[in-house]
Symmetry: C3
């Protein structure tokens, strides 16, 4: 009889634990956790190279001024730290810091300068990758206070190998030659990764 009591004792102990566990699981499926944290599920370091059209370099320019404030024009970047200039670009992406390396894709989109007293910009663009390792696009948006050594923008989505991804990208100015050429190192850390269904 003692052994029967012990059975029931153990039985209800485990039953209680189970109900606790499953109610937790159910709550979880209905409510998102408060604060998520995880290491990156994917990481890429890439470079891209921007050569802005200045009236004399149409053979190799990869970007052009397409918007300017009333006090500017579309051939020379405006005074006041280029405030108001909008630039459209189609820049080669490389695995290293060499402009002449074989490109693995194109960085396409726009940036605009948005502060009068120092250089800052705002970016909306995609990495369109088409190499043996990666096929698909990564979409970016965010503020780039470009005088800082590193600054973060958002990865807001992706397609193909980067289907539904989210993360951040740390930008570093790797080179800067006058107002014609700059090279950015982009450290992409993806924290949400999906497989296409």
């Amino acid at each position: 009889m003692a052994s029967n009591k012990t059975f029931f004792c153990i039985f209800f102990f485990f039953l209680g634990l189970f109900l606790l566990t499953s109610s937790k699981a159910m709550a979880h499926s209905m409510k998102a956790p408060r604060f998520k944290t995880s290491p990156p599920c994917k990481r890429l370091v890439l470079y891209f190279h921007d050569i802005i059209f200045n009236g004399h370099n149409s053979h190799n320019a990869t970007s052009a001024i397409v918007g300017a404030p009333a006090w500017g024009n579309r051939t020379i970047l405006a005074t006041q730290n280029h405030f108001g200039n909008v630039v459209v670009f189609d820049d080669p992406i490389t695995l290293d810091n060499n402009l002449h390396s074989a490109p693995v894709g194109r960085a396409q989109g726009f940036y605009l300068y948005d502060k009068k007293d120092i250089f800052t910009s705002w970016l909306g663009f995609s990495f369109v990758l088409n190499s043996t390792n990666h096929r698909g696009s990564i979409n970016f948006a965010g503020a780039d206070p470009l005088m800082n050594k590193t600054r973060d923008i958002s990865v807001i989505g992706g397609t193909g190998d980067f289907f539904m991804t989210r993360g951040i990208a740390t930008l570093m100015t790797d080179a800067f030659e006058g107002e014609v050429y700059f090279r950015l190192k982009v450290d992409i850390k993806l924290y949400e990764c999906w497989k296409q269904y």
Copy 2:
């Protein structure tokens, strides 16, 4: 005595399993899963129609060139595959491919042409839906290599019926008449769906 030993044996077996299960559950609530996959939680197929202002069609134009490179202007799309043209639009959305069907909303935002040697564009816009079936907005961003038969852009968020949504949209050029009219078929697949709290 043997039965007591067995009790303890079973007890610790289950205890171990429970701890394993609950530690997994706890880990899960703190760490996002590595690779998610699921079928769409919502799907919509819609069309939108773009009639670009060319100097002579202000009565029915739905979009206008607002940015151009130094070698272009704002009435005629620029040479070099319209590189650098920025277009703002307010296009009707329809359920079928007929421009004259009753619109269920407006596609509003901008696109820009960003490649010299072929047509490619970059899009930032919203579907603002206001019909009996759908009320709310879906926000899009991404690269559109428009010479491809299908291409994917990101759904980066939404409001109203599309609160907090994410997904991808597959674009297809459904018609193209000179440089004045185009119609896009948009197959929207949403993989994250929320109910407003």
Copy 3:
């Protein structure tokens, strides 16, 4: 012997339950829940102030017209409800509705007017916060039908204190003085919050 049978009985009962629970957990780690809902994990109410350059106010203007349709220019907002005007801004953010309060950050990015028959706009911008309470950026995108009392846009990502965040922001026009000054109240509700790993 009866007690042995009972052992096995209990054993398989719990084994079954465990497998059920763990298979559920596994399914969960592979499939996202269908419809998520939760209260905001973070909420901020802030104001920002836009003073557009009109040719005479370069000393205190915080924004400038940088794109216009063929029928407009970059000093005066265009006819037809400013359709096609693109504006770049670097606006002070304050905790209250006073333009002269100490700013807690800057709202940086662009807006464009995108409808001929009423005022509507499309926004792509960041709150770059740099105060004792908040350090980091919040990125926004979406349609703003600005004649509505309240309207929602998407929070598409963030950095620093707002790492990987998502949510919506409810915009309210708090003041509007001719075509030079407006003040927006922004009620930011974040539903996905992360801690940087």
